[in-house]
């Protein structure tokens, strides 16, 4: 038995219920595994849901080729340790056109290397349902998401046409051409995710813990230089600073925070005391007004 606090136990049970409803109702589900803390919790819940069997679906990672090396290593180790199938997909067309986060605005880069890539991967695999780690507390348009988020043909999200969800009942009956994003962590907050990681003793990518890292400052945000592809502004060189990440994405687009929190206890403490919202470090969210809603309409999870 684990020592989960009562509200985490309720959230865990709710998530397991959602996983089971989706597994029972959809033909070919897949779990969108982005390697971050939310994916870590999502995968752990999936393993609990179907235990002693393995989760009856593969993991899918959309690799933009701009992820931190630590993330890729963690991803491969996780799939291996748990004996799960891992599908890694990159939009090779975008790669061939050299779409990258330095030469293109975040909206273009994200659309090609993340949104389009995700659509390609889902279509190629013939998946009718994709589990994602999105939470309603993250952002305005996500605050209105359903647990079963229906996407019309072409993976489009139409906020006005979302299915009503009443009580614990989840209707997964698909119309023609429809697919679904399933969000088992809908009612979790960032604080819940960290407390759960702590209580369940889950392994997360080391980037979440403070360490001396090579950092450059850009528009008031701290970027960690992950490899030689970094474009420096004139006269700027990386300096070592003790930083960590609250959220992980593509390294040129995800800001680090200065912190001394180098273990799970201090990260939980810092998160619960946080005075700035989590996605403040996500550069793609601030590109244009309503950026997240636009991305979701295009098929982003």
């Amino acid at each position: 038995m684990t020592a989960l606090t009562s509200h985490l136990k309720l959230l865990e049970a709710e998530s397991i219920h959602i996983f089971r409803e989706a597994a029972a109702q959809f033909r070919a589900p897949v779990l969108l595994y982005s390697v971050g803390k939310d994916s870590t919790v999502l995968l752990h819940l999936a393993r609990k849901t179907f235990w002693p069997a393995k989760p009856p679906f593969p993991l899918l990672h959309v690799d933009t080729t701009w992820k931190f090396p630590e993330m890729i290593a963690f991803r491969d180790r996780t799939a291996r340790d748990f004996g799960l199938d891992l599908i890694v997909h990159t939009n090779h067309d975008g790669l061939a056109r050299n779409i990258n986060p330095f030469d293109h605005p975040p909206s273009v880069y994200t659309d090609v290397m993340k949104t389009v890539a995700l659509r390609q991967a889902l279509d190629t695999g013939g998946f009718d349902a994709a589990f994602g780690g999105a939470r309603r507390d993250e952002e305005g348009s996500r605050a209105k998401e359903r647990v079963f988020s229906f996407r019309s043909a072409g993976h489009r999200w139409e906020p006005r046409r979302q299915r009503p969800e009443m009580w614990q009942l989840l209707n997964g009956r698909l119309g023609k051409g429809e697919t679904v994003r399933v969000f088992p962590l809908s009612n979790w907050t960032e604080g819940d995710v960290w407390r759960y990681i702590q209580l369940e003793k889950l392994d997360v990518v080391p980037l979440y813990f403070a360490a001396e890292r090579p950092v450059v400052s850009r528009n008031g945000q701290l970027l960690v230089v992950a490899d030689e592809r970094m474009r420096f502004e004139p006269g700027k060189r990386p300096v070592l600073r003790k930083v960590r990440f609250r959220t992980l994405g593509c390294w040129p687009l995800t800001a680090a925070i200065e912190s001394d929190a180098d273990d799970i206890e201090s990260v939980v403490e810092e998160t619960l005391a946080a005075r700035v919202s989590e996605r403040a470090g996500r550069l793609i969210d601030h590109d244009t007004a309503g950026a997240m809603e636009m991305k979701k309409r295009e098929g982003y999870f």
């Binding site: 038995m1 219920h17 609990k48 009503p164 009443m166 614990q168 209707n171 009956r173 407390r195």
Partner: protein, 493 residues
Amino acid sequence: MHVAALRDEVSVGPRTVRATQAGALVKLLTCGSVDDGKSTLIGRLLWDAAGVTDDQRAAVALASQNRAVNGEKIDFSLLLDGLQAEREQGITIDIAWRYFETPGRRFIIIDSPGHEQYTRNMATGASHADIAILLVDARHGAKRQTRRHAAICDLVGIKKVVLAVNKMDAVGWSEARYRDIERDFLAMAGSFNFAQVMTIPVAALTGDNVVYRSTAMPWYAGPTLLDYLEAVDPVAELVDAPFRLPVQLVLRAAGDFRGYAGTVTSGRIKVGDRIVDARSGLGATLRRIASMDGDMPVASKGDAVTLVLDTDLDISRGAVLSETARRPVNADVIEARLVWLSETPFDPEAGYLLRTATDLTPVTSMSVSALVDFETLASTPAHACGVNDIADCRVLLGRATAIDLFRDLPGTGNFVLVSAIDGATVAGGVITWAQAGAPAVGDNVLVLNRALLARGVCADLGDSPADEAEFNRRAQEVAVLLRSAGVPVLIEL
């Protein structure tokens, strides 16, 4: 390390909050219209009770300066601004979910629209809540929509309701005014099945009695809104409720493992207890409650578990595992009260499926018998219903399914109605009556058909559309009278 050991005092907003082990989860519905100050109340609650981060505070403070609303420093309703951008795109009629926690509790605010044309959204939001905050403007008191909100909360099973009498500042903090509103509301609430009704005088704009105790209303000795929310027991559980577990999946694994996975919707079960599959009547003894964290001795309401039995029942998803004494009804016919959610009205010719806890049952035929009037809460005979209507209906199922009455066991007594054509969720409802065994003509179901009615009750009517409407009206009226006398009736015109 356990989070309970985290003890540092952290300053979050104006209130000092102790970062400690969070308590239970409370799902809170807020309803009322914009005019009642709902956004301001939620904003104030989040602001004063620590649900707001610094970048959000700064953004709101800046926007408030630009607007200079009310000549006030801060416009708390701007905290819901993320949603305001969507308002321009026409989707704020939807439910929004917000989260905050206090030292004692983790709260989920289900913010739902109050206007009549969004009844379906409100009902959808309300179905997830333990507690409802109904908001009224102290200058106007409980309005017709307050009664409607209370009726919807009651319909979907909310047991605890708080009336927040807002804008007390606008009535000079008058106790007399508050007591009038309180009296009216308590009288109204008496006609519902609420277990607990509370009224609190507040002023969201100034924060009085929201998080901080008002000094302007010394005559009020009750809790502030947040005090109440932190103290209330969100669970309205029956003592000794019968065990139910609707089976979601049958899990198979190596070593002949076979487990029935599902969430306990009612009661509790322990290893060694006898259980029965309600549909087949087959029984077994519970051998294990298996989990990745080790086996458990007991499972209770809300637990998502995997049950291993001593004998394998040949059952699948849709079965309901029950205690042996008090079993579900193996229903072939149900009567229900539902809220119509779809823009496409009810069509007796369309194909529908009944989605109960985990079962999906084809509907053979369905008829609407009445619409509920929110003003009077009375039923008006009707045979049609459309979006936002609350209707009473009767459903004949293509095969039997295990269900309970909603008022006894909500988790196995609710359903959604699904379109067989496109899979859309067209209605959500609660089961008010159920019967096992197919109804047969001449058995105990009276079939009201055209010939039967034309002979006498409708002998004076012709073929005009007006007469046809009158024919239908009389048919429904006759059915209502017969049903109230306990005679099951089917209308087949």
